[in-house]
């Protein structure tokens, strides 16, 4: 017999706990039976677990709502505790701006309303609070319109509840809910239309004029809800198990939920400079981001017959699973394929995942997360999903020239990684036509870069083998050769060859960097000049470091100072980078890694890298390869990571300073307290405290003071 815990966890699933069959009534009955039995001795545990599941498996909220409705018939106190806990949770979430929690809590409340656990008017009070807050925010005089993102979010929260409870609300309190709808309509008329062109995945130049006409996310959701209401609030994607128990549930006590508070957005003077407005708007959008920017990859026929609101609901399900079950691979995949909807949704699933992968500026998780989800789904649905993914790739490939550059890069990285998990199998012959296109054509560059990444993940011969059905594409493979070492053979400049050999043996002989620098300063540079020196040193050291990543790191650790010595300024560093690029011209990966490590060892600055990327001689490569942009991205990421690390350190030190100040103050107070005892007896210096203690207190105070000074000076 399964425990109440696993019954709650697995409700609604095809699992052994429920005999492998999904029947909502059977599941609810079984779960209810187990829970009511255990309620007496495990009440707190059950409460916590039930709330945890309701939050983190939100696609099952209707089932949990019905369960709680039934529990309400027997144990009102228990349900009251659930509501108190939910109330606190929602209020905390509103205070901290925890968007997912707010949204899911409200859906939970809506479903509880359906099961008669809370009054419908209680729910409407929450709606109205959010609506009122939103309306205030966008008011030019009373609010702060730069925070519209928060207001938009509140409105979408309200609208998001309606698929779960619109029918009941209209049936039971039509006037009140109508007031809310009118309020939302008014909000839509005063808010600003959102049109962040910069975050569009597809830049459709032809459609530029239409952009302002397209609906933004809130407007779009509003029209989906309008459609739903015209359809009598009937939709397919939200289960309504409470209807199975209507007769019983109606006898339950509907609790009052209580009100919530939306903190006011700080009032700023009406006149905000453009910059400050932008800054606040940006902050608001980071805190209340848009969850999805719908990607329409497939032709409409693939998603035919689906009501717009059903699409919205499925997207919500998928995004919630991706969020709450992130990292739990098996469960994530199985929840995604087992949503409680009666229609097929593989195409929608693909569009939703790709919309996340390509989300600008950044998806909630690293792109590798979505790579993995797609792999897991291909394994879970081997008959259906791989074909859908292939279709998505084809569709995106066809429109590649419209795709934002960052999205193209993500697609390249995703696709190569994806194929490496499936033996690099792909019908390349379909794309053979790109060889006719010019070298800078986006599709041609895409294929070229995907192949380059495939080689990095495996090896050259393997990738060649994978495209053997279309041998002409070999032209796009990266060079097979290794580094371009000038001094491998004796021909060419004999002097430089000899010098290189000499440096090489110094390195093999474990001479220190100091020794080498002395040799350079006393011999190399005076005789041969700086140019030759730079060339010989860089080529030789890179060659020694060329065997592997670790070899490179070792060489840079040991002899990086030599390089730093001869490249002390930006000009020389730029030359250094071009020498690296030349040495590694056959390998974009090695170029990028070497430049990155050199920046890591502070041999080259990020500015030098940026300047090098944009030197005129590189212009020819801007559109024909990703190499330069990879180096630039690495430099930017490293800079950002360093800044983040330093910020964390500063914040940590600040806390330490505060603590040290507190300790110093305490120690000082203790000392003074002890000293004051000394004075007490009629001016006669009597030792009120024992001398040992006095000494200790004094030295503690001194120490704390010094520590504090040290920290402050850092």
């Amino acid at each position: 017999m399964s425990s109440w815990r696993s019954l709650i966890l697995r409700i609604g699933e095809k699992s052994p706990e429920y005999g492998g069959v999904i029947d909502f009534k059977d599941h609810i009955d079984a779960c209810f039976g187990a829970v009511r039995r255990e309620l007496d001795h495990s009440e707190d545990e059950i409460l916590t677990f039930l709330l945890q599941c309701s939050e983190q498996l939100p696609h099952k909220i209707p089932l949990y709502g019905t369960l709680i409705g039934l529990l309400n018939l027997e144990n009102e106190e228990f349900v009251k505790k659930i509501l108190e806990s939910t109330h606190k949770s929602l209020q905390d979430a509103l205070d901290s701006g925890d968007c997912n929690k707010i949204r899911v809590s409200m859906r939970f409340l809506t479903v509880l309303m359906c099961s008669k656990v809370i009054q419908p008017s209680s729910l409407v009070v929450i709606f109205e609070t959010l609506l009122s807050s939103a309306a205030t925010i966008v008011d030019d005089e009373k609010g702060n319109p730069s925070w519209q993102a928060r207001a938009d979010f509140y409105i979408t929260c309200i609208l998001s509840c309606l698929p779960w409870g619109g029918y009941e609300l209209v049936e039971q309190i039509p006037e009140e809910i109508e007031r809310v709808m009118v309020g939302i309509e008014a909000y839509l008329s005063i808010k600003r239309h959102v049109s962040d062109v910069g975050l569009f995945v597809f830049e459709d130049i032809n459609k530029m004029n239409k952009l302002n006409v397209e609906q933004d996310f809130v407007e779009d959701l509003w029209s989906r809800i309008q459609d739903l209401s015209k359809n009598s609030w009937k939709l397919e994607s939200v289960p309504r198990p409470h209807l199975l128990y209507e007769a019983q549930l109606v006898a339950g006590k509907s609790h009052d939920f209580g009100s919530i508070i939306c903190q006011e957005q700080s009032n700023t003077p009406v006149e905000l400079s453009r910059i400050n407005f932008g800054r606040q708007k940006h902050e608001a959008e980071l805190k209340y981001p848009q969850r999805i920017r719908r990607l329409n990859i497939f032709p409409a026929t693939k998603i035919e017959g689906l009501q717009p609101i059903d699409r919205f609901v499925v997207e919500e399900y998928l995004l919630d699973v991706l969020f709450y079950l992130n990292g739990c691979r098996k469960e994530c995949a199985s929840c995604m394929v087992g949503l409680p909807v009666p229609f097929r949704y593989e195409y929608l699933m693909a569009e939703t995942i790709f919309s996340q992968l390509l989300l600008l500026p950044q998806p909630p998780f690293k792109p590798i997360c979505y790579t993995l989800v797609i792999i897991d789904l291909c394994k879970s649905l081997p008959g259906a999903f791989p074909a859908v993914v292939a279709g998505a790739v084809r569709a995106l490939f066809d429109r590649l020239s419209e795709l934002d550059m960052e999205c193209r890069t993500r697609l390249i990285l995703w696709f190569s990684h994806h194929l490496s998990n499936f033996q690099f199998i792909w019908p390349w012959d379909e794309w053979a036509y790109i060889l006719e296109l010019p070298k800078w054509a986006p599709q041609r560059v895409f294929v070229q870069e995907v192949l380059d990444r495939e080689v990095r993940l495996s090896y050259w011969d393997k990738v060649k083998q994978s495209i053997e059905s279309t041998p002409a594409l070999e032209e796009l493979l990266p060079p097979k050769g290794g580094p371009d070492f000038r001094y491998s053979l004796d021909d060419g400049d004999k002097t430089e060859y000899t010098l290189s050999k000499e440096l090489n043996s110094m390195v093999k002989g474990r001479k220190t960097a100091r020794d080498v620098i002395i040799w350079l300063e006393e011999t190399m540079i005076p005789i041969n000049g700086l140019d030759v020196t730079l060339r010989v040193v860089v080529q030789t050291l890179l060659d020694i470091g060329s065997k592997s990543f670790t070899h490179l790191v070792t060489v840079l650790e040991r002899y990086g100072q030599v390089i730093a010595k001869i490249c002390p300024n930006e000009e020389m560093q730029i030359m250094l980078i071009s020498k690296v690029a030349s040495f590694w011209k056959n390998s974009a990966q090695s170029t990028a890694i070497t430049v990155d490590r050199m920046m890591g060892y502070r041999l080259i600055s990020n500015l030098a890298i940026v300047k090098w990327v944009f030197t005129p001689s590189n212009i020819d490569f801007f559109h024909t390869t990703d190499r330069l942009w990879e180096i630039l991205r690495n430099a930017l990421n490293k800079t950002y990571n360093r800044i983040s690390d330093l910020r964390k350190e500063i914040s940590h030190l600040k806390k330490s300073v505060v603590k040290a100040e507190q300790l110093a103050a305490m120690a000082k107070a203790e000392l003074e307290g002890a000293e004051s005892k000394l004075m007490l007896v009629d001016g006669e210096p009597v030792v009120g405290e024992n001398p040992a203690r006095m000494k200790r207190l004094r030295s503690t105070a001194e120490r704390q003071k010094r520590l504090r000074c040290l920290l402050v000076s850092l």
């Binding site: 696993s6 966890l9 697995r10 052994p16 983190q56 498996l57 997912n100 709450y324 079950l325 992130n326 990292g327 739990c328 691979r329 098996k330 469960e331 690293k366 590798i368 997360c369 993995l372 792999i375 990285l413 990684h417 998990n421 033996q423 990444r453 990095r456 993940l457 495996s458 090896y459 050259w460 011969d461 393997k462 083998q465 053997e468 097979k480 290794g482 474990r510 220190t512 960097a513 065997k547 592997s548 990543f549 670790t550 070899h551 790191v553 070792t554 650790e557 040991r558 990086g560 100072q561 990966q589 090695s590 890694i593 490590r597 890591g600 060892y601 502070r602 490293k638 990571n641 690390d645």
Partner: protein, 266 residues
């Protein structure tokens, strides 16, 4: 955001695996795992290069260092390695998103490691490499290991794999004759891999290993099983023959380290 009832890789769970070499209590071991920025990677192909690892593992974050696991006798890669990140978050992402996926045609496992120390790069199996042979590890899916609620079958497999883990468990082995040379400490604050103020030397696997595949093929001619369309895809039983023909086995006098060559020649 982590629903702990489902978590496959929840570090708060008691680790099924326990490296006997860890100098501390179970509690300290778990704490080390929970704060570690090092991952252990196993079930790798002997041919997998650092560059392949770099490409794959960079996708979880900025890599600080890679240390290849080497057979203590042949000093060639023997199927495991360590990758160090700068941030804990990236380390967690590597474990979450890369474990169980394919690298170089093999499903690799990625786990938190308690912390690389000099000496741990040497395989401790009796043959010099990793102890577990491929026969026991086909279609290995690390997912199975730590997730709860798998029902009867899952628990059976889990138990079985745990038993096999004891076989893998690093026994007390010798460090081998190779002495780590002391790394030049020229870089104090800004060295040590990435200028993040991570000072201190990072000793790592040294010795004869590892040139890129193409070089070896060129150098050794047809001795080496080349990977081209003529050959069969590698099979598990190839490991023995592969050891002998391993292109990374360097000839004497060819080492980076004179010391090593001198020892050999004795």
């Amino acid at each position: 955001m982590h629903f702990s009832s489902f978590s496959d890789k929840d570090p708060n769970k008691i680790s099924a695996y326990r490296d006997r070499r860890f100098p501390g209590t179970q509690e300290e071991y778990e704490h080390a795992l929970q704060t570690s920025t090092t991952v252990y990677i196993g079930n790798m192909s002997f041919y997998t290069t650092e560059e392949q690892l770099y490409e794959l593992f960079s996708r979880a974050g900025e890599i600080k260092k890679i240390v290849m696991g080497l057979d203590k006798n042949t000093k060639t890669p023997c199927g495991f390695c360590f990758v160090m990140y700068y941030s804990r978050e990236d380390t967690e992402d590597a474990v979450k998103y890369i474990s169980g996926t394919i690298l170089d045609d093999r499903p690799i496992r990625v786990d938190f490691d308690w912390g690389f120390q000099d000496g741990r790069q040497w395989g401790r199996g009796r043959s010099g490499g990793q102890q577990v042979r491929d026969e026991y590890r086909t279609d290995y899916d690390p997912d199975i290991l730590l997730s709860l609620n798998q029902g009867g079958y899952g628990k059976l497999v889990q138990k079985e794999l745990e038993e096999q883990r004891q076989v893998v468990d690093y026994g007390v082995g010798s460090l081998g004759s190779f002495q780590q040379p002391h790394m030049a400490q020229n870089y104090g604050r800004h060295g040590g891999g990435g200028g993040h103020g991570y000072g201190g030397s990072n000793r790592h696997g040294r010795g004869d290993y590892h040139r890129k595949r193409y070089r070896d093929d060129d150098r050794r001619g047809s001795d080496i099983p080349k990977r081209n369309s003529e050959n069969e895809p590698r099979r598990n039983s190839d490991h023995d023959s592969r050891q002998e023909k391993n292109p990374r086995f360097r000839e004497h006098g060819d080492s980076d380290d004179e010391e090593d060559d001198r020892k050999r020649q004795k």
